[in-house]
């Protein structure tokens, strides 16, 4: 500072080792500014950590599940009263017909382990998941010769039993429950001691399909993950090239005229269109006019593509704009065409921004539910794995966020933990996707 000449007459700036008042002030401002930056970053990360903690603590229990191992006597009188051994005959017994068999199996298992209970036999199957009947029936139908034998099955425990082992369900709350009562829990306690009941890592949650409301223990996110995967393929392969091409045109080639302005305004406006409106659009165009199938990941992908495009275009344009003109000049100067200068030099330099836009756009598309509501991807949909590429795109399927949304609405509290568990899977999926993009982005990043 000019008027601070004090110690050293030779230097009007004063000693470098002693920081003068104004610099102190400016440095304080600097420190503050930097602190704002760190603060902002920490706030962001804090929220992230809070959210992740909430998600993990709520959802981690979805990754384990309670199983009961039952010795099931496949009563020939019930399953094949005529003794034909014919598969079609045996198939006439529906899953409802297996209830009795399961009740007996539970009773037998209890007897084998010397467990006593005041409960009538009819109330015993309530501890076992409704999926057990289907599981046993499928096994029998696959091998009709099993009829009449006793086979050991590892069946899912019902969601209440599972909840009890996870601490979600208490005796007091069961007192008012129509499904299960405290006596059941006594049985479970003893079965647990006997090693008949066991809580295990639940791979089926990651690979499985959705289940109905009455059997949350069976529900998995696997099939809808495939649905999301196929949708993301569509989104990536359409929105990235179209978005980048549109940006290149607007930023590098478009003449300054009304038409260009019109396109530009349209694009930024599309970014503000609520996602459900894209659902209305998708329903009208892709399903009603183009006759694409309902609930298909292809249609979902197309709708989400339209939704992601503005995000990608806006970020791509911003990063194209930030490439210094001298680079373009240099390329043109050696006789490159405009097209070549853009594709050889400008685009690679703009790549980090393009990838950021893609990451954000895809993340948004991956987590979006509302438009899927209208094109039929929300509800009880996924039941089978697609058996090929075409069926992956065209067969009815759900998507992860839609699945999570559905679960979060369901009445049984067991679905609540699954919804959070599903979010964990979704985030892992998202991060895998991002890591690829981030690695790419790192390769392109440089300052000039």
């Amino acid at each position: 500072m000019t008027d601070q000449t004090a110690s050293q007459p030779s230097s009007k700036h004063g000693s470098l080792l002693a920081v003068d008042a104004r610099t102190k002030k400016r440095n304080a401002a600097e420190t503050r500014f930097k602190a704002y930056g760190i603060g902002a970053l920490l706030i962001g990360l804090f929220f992230l950590v809070t959210l992740l903690t909430a998600i993990v603590s709520n959802g981690s229990t979805a990754f384990s599940q309670t199983y009961i191992s039952l010795d099931v006597t496949l009563n020939a009188e019930k399953l094949d009263p005529n003794g034909t051994g014919d598969r079609d005959e045996i198939a006439k017994v529906t899953t409802l017909g297996y209830t009795q068999i399961i009740a007996e199996a539970v009773a037998n298992t209890m007897a084998a382990n010397e467990i006593e209970s005041p409960l009538p036999a009819g109330a015993l199957p309530l501890m076992v998941s409704a999926s057990a009947a289907a599981q046993i029936r499928d096994t029998v139908l696959a091998d009709p010769s099993l009829v009449g034998q006793t086979v050991t099955f590892n069946v899912l425990a019902s969601s209440r039993v599972d909840g009890y082992l996870k601490g979600r369900v208490t005796r007091e709350s069961l007192a008012r429950d129509r499904n299960l009562g405290p006596p059941h829990l006594d049985i479970v306690d003893q079965m647990l001691d006997a090693g008949v009941v066991e809580k295990r890592w639940n791979l089926a949650f990651i690979t499985g399909a959705d289940a109905s409301e009455s059997r949350p223990e069976q529900a998995g996110i696997g099939v809808s993950m495939l649905g999301s995967f196929f949708m993301m393929l569509v989104v990536l392969f359409l929105s990235l090239p179209i978005g980048v091409a549109a940006s290149i045109y607007l930023e590098e080639f478009a003449p300054q005229n009304k038409f260009t302005d019109f396109i530009e305004v349209n694009i930024s406006n599309l970014a503000a269109v609520p996602s459900i409106v894209f659902g209305i659009l998708g329903l009208a165009i892709f399903i009603q006019i183009m006759h694409l199938p309902q609930s298909a990941p292809l249609v979902g992908g197309l709708v989400l593509t339209l939704m992601t495009l503005p995000t990608i275009i806006i970020s791509t344009r911003a990063s194209l704009k930030s490439v210094p003109p001298s680079i373009r000049d240099a390329a043109l100067g050696v006789g490159a065409s405009k097209m070549q200068s853009v594709f050889h030099h400008v685009l690679p330099l703009a790549m980090p921004g393009i990838l950021t836009g893609t990451i954000i756009g895809l993340a948004q598309a991956l987590g979006e539910t509302a438009p899927l509501l209208l094109i039929g991807m929300v509800g009880f949909i996924a039941s089978n794995y697609p058996d090929g590429l075409a069926s992956g795109f065209l067969d009815p399927n759900s998507a992860m966020p839609a699945q999570i949304y559905e679960w979060a609405k369901r009445a049984d509290p067991a679905y609540y933990e699954r919804a959070w568990g599903g979010i964990i899977v979704l985030l892992v999926f998202l991060m895998t996707m991002n890591i690829i993009a981030i690695l790419l982005r790192r390769r392109f990043e440089r300052r000039w």
Binding site: F33, K34, Y36, G37, G39, A40, L41, G44, F47, L48, T50, L51, A54, I55, P241, A245, A246, Y249, D261, F262, N266, S268, N269, A271, A272, V273, P274, I276, V277, I280, L281, A284, I285, P310, I313, S315, A318, S319, K321, S322, P324, M339, P352, G353, I359, I360, A363, G367, E368, T369, A370, L374, A408, I423, L427, M431, I438, R442, E445, W448
Partner: protein, 490 residues
Amino acid sequence: MSALWIALIVLALAAGGYVLGRKRALASVGGNTRHLHSLPSYYGANVAMMAAVPALILLVIWLILQPMVLNRMVAPMIGSVAAGEAGEMSLVMSDVRRVADGLDAAVDQGVLSGAEARDMQSDSTDVRATLSNVGVALGSDVTAETLSAAQRYRALSSTGSLLMTVVVLAVALAGAITATLRTHRDFRARNVVEHGMRVLLIGAACFAILTTLGIVLSLIFNTVKFFNLYPASDYFFGLTWSPSFGGGSSLGILPLLWGTLYISVIALAVAVPIGLFAAIYLSEYATPRIRAFAKPMLEVLAGIPTIVYGLFALLTVGPLLVSVFGEGGFAGVGWMQGGTAVMTAGLVMGIMLIPFVSSLSDDIINAVPQTMRDGSLGLGATKSETVRQVVLPAALPGIVGAILLAASRAIGETMIVVLGAGAAAKLSLNPFEAMTTVTAKIVSQLTGDADFSSPEALVAFALGMTLFVITLGLNIFALWIVRKYREQYE
């Protein structure tokens, strides 16, 4: 031959054309690329382009037009409704098409022989049952008229398809041959190919317009229907929003618009400073390692499904705010009645938007040339002065873009609003009161229990349309502002 196969053959032709064109170009100069006008690959690309593009365009147009033309030709055969309304006619025609498709399917699956399908009589065979076997849904039994029309339709369409195959492949071949013949050392292949690419680029840019058109078209009819049922003035100027099933709903948009605006502003007030400062820190101060870690981490915030944010707002942030601003809270002000409030939704939405601002801005800031920073630092500026006065102004256009994107996202968000802000439509200044937004109401009216042709359900379309027009206006305004500002600057 199916359209897919035709397309594949055309593409194969194009690939062959590429190789041929390249070879021919090289041959014309004896292998010395210096004497070619363009690089050899451009000659190849030119041939490929000429082979594929016109043929594929023709194919698409043909596929669209053929059913229309056939309809025209077959329609006179249906006498009974010929005099009737257009709607009825189109229904009958769709039935004819379905029968024709069904016959095709039946022949494919071997249920019928080609001759049987051609000569089948409606009185002798149960067409509906036959077609049901092959999984084709028919609304009613097939009349003789319909059946014969369908048979004629089939005949015509198979002729049409044959013709299409021949013509499309001929066009592809012709294109490939002309382009190959034209391939010569002085032919400006690069210019032609680049011109083609440019058209592609323009096409991509026009997608936005098509989407807009699609949105407008898919909203407009129901919007008009809505305004036929409900007075426009009440809708635009009404101060209350209270739909009810029995009719007599008040559907004024103003409270919803107000809620949208209020929540978006709060969200941006959270996201912009945090995002911008985070971006500045990441690009200017942080070590590469911190940056490599923190940036993607923040981006995860953009990927967390909005329902999680909604639950976060409902279960965590709302009660927290009530414990501060509610009655008997720490602040002792008693402004807040319940956990759901504009503030709750705004804060949480702001968190979600942080990465929109931070990541995009970080890229833009990072792209400002180092010499700019050097110039400022060399004058004895501190880093923060450099950032504020040199780097940010240079990066401003991109940052504004990022903020606009975040704002757009805020306007379009639903889930957080439903769970965080509540469903009450109110015109109030208190940010601690529950309000709702246009988008939240679009979703709830669309997915609700109201009769789908009642104003209560149709209003969803009108809301969508209104929001669309308003944001369009805002965007035009923003563009105008940016232009004006830029003119002063450059």
